[in-house]
Amino acid sequence: MSEEINYRKVIAVALADAMREDDSVLLLGEDVGAAGGAFKTTAGLFEEFGPRRVRDTPISEQAIVGAAIGSALCGLRPVAEIMFADFAGVCFDQIANQLAKYRYMTAGQAQLPVTIRMANGAGAGFAAQHSQAAENWFLSIPGLKIAVPATVPDLYLLLRAAIRDDDPVLVFEHKNLFALKGSIPRGVAPLRLGVADIVRQGNDVTMVATQQMRHRAVEAADLLVQEGIEATVIDPRTLIPFDDEAVRASLEQTARLMVVQETVQAGSWGASLIARMVQDHFELFDAPPTLLSTPNTPAPYAAALEREWLPSVEDIRIGARELVKW
């Protein structure tokens, strides 16, 4: 039950478990097979399951997502990999206009148990076209579920849940977390999509953050203790559906909300959460909600710039301190 593994490697474990459980699960994507994935996240699967179930594709993201959709319509449970989440740009139509809407437009005739895995996020110097938090591109497209795992067990459980789910789920694997260690939660109850993780409890401020930013939020929260500030840190784990209730419940205690994200303010999940919270629970707020975002620029390459671009532990600490003082 507590096998140690890293975030990168747990992916293949989850995929293998899913494939052993259900023969209708297959993988497709660029170099997911023989090479074990550009990030080695599918290593060993080709050897175990063979070329029928682990399929290397041409560089054709529209065809990859389309093939996933079509095979799902005909009874399979495909898992497609889009190597970097940024490449969702070249198959955006297939995800947003086809995958998301197919069930609705056909009044439920279509079945879409499709999982799309993508490597997400900034921090390692991949520059503007390979560093985006692309989950924000899909927030306004009804019909998609969005998972943003931050830890090894969450990644395992969310990937399993995504594959079992009868709806399309986009799973964003943060590539700056690949080295993160944790244990495989085997034998644990399946996770329901839409249930937040209350990572840490405190009565002074509610921090909500995902993926890389969740870890920074926790780090900042740990430091804030020295200043006498106790923070709750909530990791929603999925953005659609979103566990608004977990945030509301925490706000009952803290009356202060801070969201940390690695994207710009506009069109973001954080802004959306804040807007919902103030609309639905205005009376809970004793201070203005704080959204920590990146500056309004694409991701820069140079180390010094990218470091500055992402919200840091220090930014979070300062933001929380000010919020509590308000």
Partner: protein, 328 residues
């Protein structure tokens, strides 16, 4: 060169019912589409609608060699294909009218006819987007080891969009049981093919994917059926996909708002002389009497009329329908 023009196969060799069934289906589609034009003018159809009068031989010819378990995808100009695949006319009208009894309970409309029970797994309003999806349907057949074939209809203009390229390449490299059918009706919206496409025969594009490309007279239902049968057999035999270019003509404008004034003088008339229904009826006269053909026509008309009547009697969807079917 992989292109060949299939010699017109004569229906005389087949059982006599064949021709009657083909004619009946083509008439149903023609009459359906003519009714849709009426419904337009009565303002009973929302958004836009794209009709297929003149192109019936393509979808009917191809679908006549498919079973319900074989899948078919098509475009916003898909009424004919979905009817040819076997969808009930009343539910088609119902969808067009946005009624609860429509194929998609009124949520899809004219551009999104689908009837999974007969293998019509989707009409797509994004040009070319259904081609990758067709590849997925074919992938499922190959994966499951069954003998279903995945067929896709799309226009000449669609051969210039990226999804076409990616889909054909992947279907070929995986040798999937797919058949890609270009309904070359000479125009993409208002643009004649030559203004957007630097080659004259689209079937030649098959070469780029190492698959056979076949050109066929798309107004000759027997010829279409013959090339479709070969392609379907090839697909079932695990020999991979085929690209079929069916040369035909869109007798009406692109969509409801298009009077098609861009057509050169005489072009429509020339194609009307080769109207697919006319051609089929003429060829049938060797074995069928005019009266028999009239009966087929009358039956089709009666079916279409009563289907429309049924559809007009269908209730609108109730408001709770809106929130349904986003999730499983």
């Amino acid at each position: 060169m992989t292109i060949g023009v299939e010699a017109s196969a004569s229906l005389d060799q087949g059982p006599p019912d064949d021709a009657a069934a083909l004619l009946a289906m083509m008439l149903r589609i023609r009459m359906f589409e003519d009714k849709v034009m009426d419904l337009f003018s009565q303002n009973l159809v929302r958004g836009s609608t794209h009709l297929c009068q003149g192109q019936e031989a393509v979808t009917v010819g191809v679908c006549s060699v498919l079973r319900h378990v074989d899948t078919m995808t098509c475009t916003y100009r898909g009424h004919g294909a979905v009817i040819a695949k076997g969808a009930p006319l009343a539910a088609c009208f119902g969808e067009l009218l946005g009624r609860a009894g429509g194929l998609c309970r009124g949520k899809g409309g004219s551009m999104h006819f689908a009837d999974f029970s007969v293998g019509a797994i989707g009409s797509n309003a994004i040009v070319g987007a259904h081609l990758p999806i067709t590849v997925g349907a074919a992938l499922a057949s190959s994966y499951l080891g069954d003998d279903r074939v995945a067929v896709s209809f799309f226009g000449d203009g669609a051969t210039n969009i990226g999804a076409f390229h990616e889909a054909l390449n992947l279907a070929s490299v995986w040798k999937l049981p797919a058949v890609f059918v270009i309904e070359n009706n000479q125009y993409g919206e208002y643009s004649p093919l030559r203004s957007t496409t630097p080659i004259d025969r689209l079937a030649r594009r098959a070469d780029a994917y190492g698959m056979p490309g076949v050109l066929v007279d798309g107004n000759d239902v027997a010829a279409v059926r013959s090339v479709a049968r070969s392609a379907v057999e090839r697909a079932r035999a695990g020999q991979g996909p085929t690209l079929i270019e069916a040369d035909t003509y869109r007798q009406v404008g692109h969509s409801r708002s298009d009077p098609a004034t861009y057509r050169p003088a005489g072009e429509l008339d020339r194609w009307l002389e080769r109207d697919p229904i006319l051609l089929l009826e003429r060829s049938m006269l060797t074995r069928w009497s005019t009266e028999e053909l009239d009966t087929i026509r009358q039956t089709a008309q009666r079916d279409v009329d009563s289907a429309l009547e049924m559809a007009l009697a269908m209730p609108e969807p109730t408001l709770d329908e809106m929130a349904k079917d986003v999730w499983a």
